[in-house]
Symmetry: C2
Subunit: 200 residues, 2 copies
């Protein structure tokens, strides 16, 4: 696929992303996407056959981007604490940004199918996301930036509390201090006290 094709796909995903955020998964149609992206039916179907295909590609792109960025920072020998704080700051902002949450769409998309069918996509994502966090945590331990922790435990805590807050943020007002408390706790699990002091 040439550059023009790739650009069009990016454009479609960006438009579709906002529609999924606004309306959930069930209520978005291929026609909505055509209309909002300024494409003809043929123009859209050249790239995607269904909203499901677009949705699953959007979800995958998130992780790919995060993995690539993380690896670059590690390759550039940036402090693990800086990388961590930057990631957690991103998560914090996302937790507060209820209007941009895909949680309802994710709920609807995956609950339409049997768990076994999802398992490929979601379990894969869980694994990919873990291996990216594991890389960061091992790197931090090796550099002496982090405590000797079990990276899976920390990862589960980060992932699920993040998802829990994002789900709740659709349902009630999440005050600033909730993500802040969670993030502070995760930092203190990873970063030894004296290093935490240095970063204040």
């Amino acid at each position: 696929m040439g550059k023009k094709g790739l650009d069009t796909k990016e454009h479609i995903k960006k438009i579709a992303y906002q529609l999924f955020v606004d309306k959930g998964f069930k209520e978005v149609t291929m026609k909505d996407i055509c209309d909002n992206a300024g494409l003809s039916r043929g123009g859209l179907y050249r790239y995607y056959e269904s909203t499901e295909q677009i949705f699953s590609e959007i979800i995958s792109s998130f992780l790919t981007v995060q993995n690539t960025e993380l690896q670059e920072q590690i390759d550039n020998n940036i402090s693990a604490i800086d990388i961590l704080n930057q990631l957690l700051e991103k998560y914090r902002l996302e937790m507060l940004d209820a209007r941009n949450s895909l949680s309802l769409a994710i709920c609807e998309y995956f609950s339409k199918k049997r768990i076994e069918e999802n398992d490929n996509l979601l379990s894969q994502q869980y694994q990919m996301s873990f291996s990216s966090w594991d890389r960061l945590i091992q790197y931090g331990i090796l550099r002496g930036d982090f405590r000797q922790v079990d990276s899976r435990t920390i990862f589960d805590l980060i992932l699920f509390s993040y998802q829990g807050v994002r789900m709740y943020s659709l349902l009630m007002n999440i005050s600033e201090d909730i993500p802040q408390r969670i993030i502070k706790q995760i930092q203190s699990l990873l970063i030894p006290v004296q290093k935490l002091e240095e970063y204040k």
Copy 2:
């Protein structure tokens, strides 16, 4: 309301609970509840006017039961560690029991409305649930069972990681070790090392 009326309400809530678990919130009708509870239309409407009313009562009962049980155990001077472990064990089993999760129904129920309307019910529940956990944590600190922790931080971590796992459990297979890791981490945040050893 006499005992018979209260029993009928309990029966209705039990039947409705299973329907909400199986079908989410949107697809359950008052007729479904009549049919499954073996009640006439009039019999049901004497107690509840809508599925919304039944749903919000189900959610409230959970918390009331948890609060009452907790207070009883504290009044009986039971070790805070025992109370904690019992609660966490209950949470662990619920996290693994995807088929009994109300998460999809909760998502659908609350996302139907504007956040401001929900705020009464959900924020109230968040506060109630916090005050019950806070009571336990302060009691544990006072008895010397727990470390000097910030109870709100621990509460947020427990609540949101629990909710995150419950949501995910609708979508993918949650292996036994995920809730186990989360619970072990929470225990070790609360219980000092030497006390943890005693309980192994």
